[in-house]
């Protein structure tokens, strides 16, 4: 095949070790990232008496169970962290453990350490592995059996997904972020709208985005059901990578730039689906229900299940029941109990800067937790004075980790409490049993914090950024 190719097709082909008659490909894995949750996979490997095939391409990090506040660590959490440490040592895997200056959430430290590069295939036993696609890498999450397979063989069997190009025209308005854009398209297409697809994000609004914003957008691809998200690398991508810890250096760097410049969709290449979104249509967006597709502009109202059809109406009714909301309520009238800023979606330095610009000189009306996405982000935020802004506003400044995104480390929202959160999932019980989560951008979380209810951040930022 020598016709025009999509970026996805180039990446796929260049990693194909072999293809079976049925069309399933065996793909080479350039980077395999593991975390505490990978214990099932290591156990499987051990039960077969096998060892890790490519420890030089495998990297471990403590993030899902990482304690982010001081105090005693529960024994089952300690055990999870120790198990990863033991497996990493036994297999000769580089581990970013709790005291490592490179520690952080796996999808934050990949780019930060220069492990995430254009043209690579990256796997991790975590659905938000789609994040790394922001660099033009083929990156997707896998389950424990597949993690064990990659550990054992450094390859993965995959059926080729369909392709979708999502072209984002126009420009995002002030205080409107990649998070709002993602919630916007998921609310239109549905939480399974991109199921079975690899999305390539393209268009002027994508070119104008920072690497941080692109990471946020690709991160949320999975919430729209996509297998992965992709953005063709450009000068901004290269500038971000240059000089990072594990990034190529010297002549390798020159070779890399040459190879990377070919990583774009050719003129005329066909996609299975084309979607076009106008960035000018996107407002600061919040979720009202228990699926990321339950999202609306902050200026909207809680929908009425009575006027929704069949299964949709039933889903909305169950969501509102769980969320403790009434149909027709103005979204900005929903009062909150606490806030959380962090996660692999919105725990990078730019996210913290944006939230701090809202919080500066203001007091939060509710308690809240800020957990930077990595130890490096934490250090930088402290150097820039952002940490002080958070604490002066009355929020708690914690260590880095997955924290209240998933609550595995004990940072949880109490049952029945309502949290404005910069995370990625508003599923029932995600942030703790009975917890009520409203997803939004970090700036919108900050706006909610100083207002005590969901609020439009735009007036609060006027004259500030």
């Amino acid at each position: 095949m020598s016709g025009p190719q999509t970026l996805f097709s180039k990446l796929w082909t260049s990693h194909e070790v072999t293809r079976r008659d049925d069309g399933t490909s065996l793909l080479w894995v350039d980077r395999h990232l593991v975390h505490e949750g990978s214990h099932h996979a290591f156990a499987k490997l051990q039960s077969r008496g096998m060892s890790v095939a490519a420890p030089d391409l495998t990297f471990g990090v403590v993030d899902h169970y990482a304690p982010t506040r001081s105090g005693e660590v529960a024994s089952d959490i300690r055990r999870m962290i120790d198990t990863l440490g033991r497996n990493a040592r036994a297999q000769g895997i580089r581990l970013f453990d709790l005291r490592d200056p490179g520690q952080g959430i796996v999808h934050v430290i990949g780019p930060e350490q220069g492990l995430t590069l254009p043209g690579l295939l990256i796997n991790c036993g975590d659905s938000h592995t789609s994040t790394h696609g922001a660099f033009g890498a083929l990156a997707f999450g896998v389950g424990a059996t597949e993690v064990a397979h990659i550990l054992a063989t450094q390859t993965i069997w995959q059926r080729r997904p369909n392709t979708m190009r999502m072209t984002i025209n126009g420009a995002l308005g002030p205080a409107v972020t990649a998070k709002d854009l993602a919630l916007h398209w998921i609310s239109i297409l549905g939480a399974d709208g991109a199921r079975g697809h690899a999305i390539e994000y393209a268009g002027p609004a994508i070119r104008a985005m920072s690497m941080e914003a692109r990471l946020t957008l690709c991160n949320l691809s999975i919430e729209g059901g996509a297998r992965l998200g992709l953005i063709a690398p450009d000068q901004q991508t290269f500038d971000y990578i240059k000089g990072r810890n594990f990034a190529p250096k010297g002549t390798d760097w020159e070779r890399a730039l040459q190879d990377w410049s070919a990583l774009a969709t050719d003129e005329g290449a066909a996609f299975d689906q084309e979607v076009t979104i106008d960035a000018n249509d996107v407002a600061p967006t919040v979720t009202w229900g228990t699926s990321p597709e339950d999202a609306l502009p902050i200026t909207g109202r809680v929908p009425d299940p009575a006027i929704m059809s069949g299964a949709k109406g039933q889903h909305a009714r169950a969501s509102l029941d769980y969320m403790g909301l009434e149909p027709g309520m103005a979204l900005d009238a929903i009062s909150i109990d606490q806030v959380f800023i962090g996660s692999c979606t919105n725990g990078r330095i730019e996210d913290l800067r944006m939230a701090a610009s809202v919080l500066k000189g203001r007091k939060a009306k509710v308690p809240g937790l800020v957990s930077p996405g990595s130890a490096a982000v934490k250090k930088q935020a402290e150097a820039e004075g952002l940490a002080q802004v958070f604490t002066q506003a009355g929020l708690e400044w914690a260590q880095s980790g997955c924290s209240m995104c998933v609550g595995m480390n004990g940072d949880r929202v109490k049952s029945g409490d309502r949290c404005a959160s910069s995370t990625n999932r508003n599923f029932k019980g995600r942030q703790g049993r009975g917890a009520r989560t409203h997803l939004m951008s970090p700036a919108m979380v900050a706006a909610a914090a100083v207002s005590g209810h969901l609020a439009d951040v735009r007036p609060l930022l006027e004259g500030r950024t």
């Binding site: 070790v17 391409l57 959490i77 597949e146 228990t290 699926s291």
Partner: protein, 196 residues
Amino acid sequence: MSGWTEIKGRAVALAQSNIDTDQLIPARFMSAPRTDGYGDFLLHDVRQDDANHILNRYTNVDVLVTRRNFGSGSSREAAVYALVDFGIKAVLAPSFGDIFRSNAVNNGLLPAQLPEADIEDLIAAIGDDDVGATVDLSTSTVRIAGQELSFDLDPVWRKKLVNGWDDIDLTSQHNDGIQAFRAARFAAHPWALPTS
């Protein structure tokens, strides 16, 4: 893992869409070793909050009929362990989370995709009861509530389910090819090896 070709058992309907993996197994149970059994964790919080939950009233369930986007969300394979350890061998739904589907097949659980209209008919027919169901992988059909329906199933996945195959065994025959691929890749693209 042993494979299967046909199951004859009981089916119930869970009339909800978007049942995500966080509901299927709350995160706090995931540090348990698999040998403990994950069946009690299945939809743990939902079941505890609702004594009348269909999976509280019926615990001998082989087939689950449910709405779209089942198993969406996290890649946690523990969600599949919870279903399998509860005794469930097939889930019928209009759509599944992509990672969930492959996790399911890797653990002998059939994710059978059926048209939304068929699922709605089944949910209406089954209601709050349990009914007999027969799932046949060789013909990709399910007989349930007086109907015979066929589902979509990837032929490789069928083979894996029937034989209880493990991919690692399948892949070992490609070992030489993998080694050659690695050498060629890093020779042509030396930058792709991590430095430092």
